[in-house]
Amino acid sequence: QTLNVTIVAGHPPVFRWVKHASQTFIPAVNKALEGTGTTIEWSEQYGGSLAKVGEELEAVEEGLAEIGLVSSLFDPAKLAPQNVTYFTPFVVSDSTLVSEWMDRLQMDNADMKAAWEANGLEYLGGAIGIDDYLLMTNFPVNSIADLEGRKIGAPGPAVNWLAGTGAVGVSGNLTTYYNEIKTGVYDGVIVFASAALPGKLHEVAPYITKVGFGAQYAGGFAANKDWFDGLDPVVQQALRDAAEADRIAYHADLDASVTKFLEIMTSQGATVTEVDDAFRQQWAAGMDNVAKLWAEKLDASGVNGTAVLKDYMETMRAAGATPVRNWDME
């Protein structure tokens, strides 16, 4: 039996997680299915050919693709509980750890599970972790006072991280950071190392401050639920196992390149500073408790946001994280 499977990702294959979908996930599925009598004919649709970034969920939900690399970060309304990491900065910097536990929560936490199902999706695993977010600026940051009145670009939910610092948070995206720092629209950005080097952001914002915002969960593999439910259990298991193999390979690759990328940026003239605990404490303490606000808003809309927040924080503390601020305990 041959299955025709369309797999969709909004980002192009130069992005690490898409590369691994093609080079780790698909071969792993094919290998697991050898000798089972089922083969899969893959149609790989990356880089916006079928769905752009943030459109993967709808493409899979409507059945235009069977499997998608769904970015929860870009679907904050439909996959609200999955965005918990972006509302809880300063929790943990290890993206491998975050993604492993977020994958488990997708299975164990009722609200996270329900969010996938409400959109007609079956979560397969293969969490996309994002390495520790950094503050990159065109001026040195020695204290929080240095940020007063500076315009800092940040991706959607991370704008909240700047509230209370005196900086002006501007919602922006990766594609225009370079030019907008260069011309002075922004004085800096909140960004992660594995995107900063390819974007050459250190050329225009050479002061890299490791504030410790933390690693994030940005999404994972999901399948159309109706389609998935109709599959042979052997095939279902092959897809889940391959997603896990993909997560492990992707994060090993990511960890290796983050260290390398920071070194390259340093060798090209960037200054990397790690802030001390007092700085980090002051920043975290100065923020509004946006996690609580977010959880309450979810509570009001029928999703148990407070429970999701608590579950996530407890999971991470149990896994060995020492959050700078315990967002769930205030």
């Binding site: 904050p76 309304a77 439909k78 939910p157 704008v159 909240n160 501007v170 919602s171 977010w294 809309s301």
Partner: protein
């Protein structure tokens, strides 16, 4: 089109339909002006008052979809949708009735297509309404997306009606021997 070539009841109907189309068009036009002001306030707020307006990218990206679907029926009625007249013009000079027939076929095929678009867009509106889907970020700015999905439906319906009126006009001209084709 020579108005005199068409019956009075049709012209009355066309006037009524055009009134609605123009109303939608005006709404879209006002929205363009508001988008311009919004972006300028954001630029001024960010540079001189250290307070950008939250949610401008989200509002602008939702507005453009609304603008296009509010105005698409009017754009069609005013002949702004691109089509090549090379073959059609040649046909019209030699066989005006055939030209009318081709126009009817094209307009009805397009109407069917827009009907499919309408039918497939309707569940997207329902989902956005039922689930309360929003754009933006909790804590910063959020806006519901259902109004835009509703405007897509309204715009498709208005375009569908204009396409049917176009086919009807071509049909009436065909009955009168193909004179006065637009």
């Amino acid at each position: 089109m020579e108005q005199g070539a068409l019956p009075r009841w049709f012209l009355a109907l066309q006037r009524w339909v055009d009134g609605i189309t123009t109303g939608l068009n005006v709404a879209g036009t006002v929205l363009i002006f508001l988008v311009m002001l919004l972006v300028n306030f954001d630029v001024i707020g960010r540079n001189f008052l250290a307070s950008p307006i939250s949610g401008v990218p989200e509002l602008v990206s939702m507005s453009i979809v609304a603008i296009v679907f509010l105005q698409i029926a009017q754009a069609f009625r005013k002949g702004r949708l691109t089509r090549t007249e090379a073959v059609l013009g040649w046909v019209e000079r030699r066989a005006p009735r055939l030209r009318c027939a081709v126009d009817i076929v094209f307009a009805l095929a397009s109407a069917l297509l827009i009907w499919q678009l309408y039918a497939a867009s309707q569940p997207l509106f329902v989902k956005a309404w039922v689930r309360g889907t929003f754009q933006g970020t909790v804590g910063d700015f959020t806006a519901p997306v259902w109004p835009v999905k509703l405007i897509i439906l309204v715009g498709c319906a208005a375009l569908l009606v204009q396409l049917v009126m176009f086919a009807l006009a071509a049909g009436l001209r065909l009955l009168r021997g193909g004179a006065g084709a637009s």
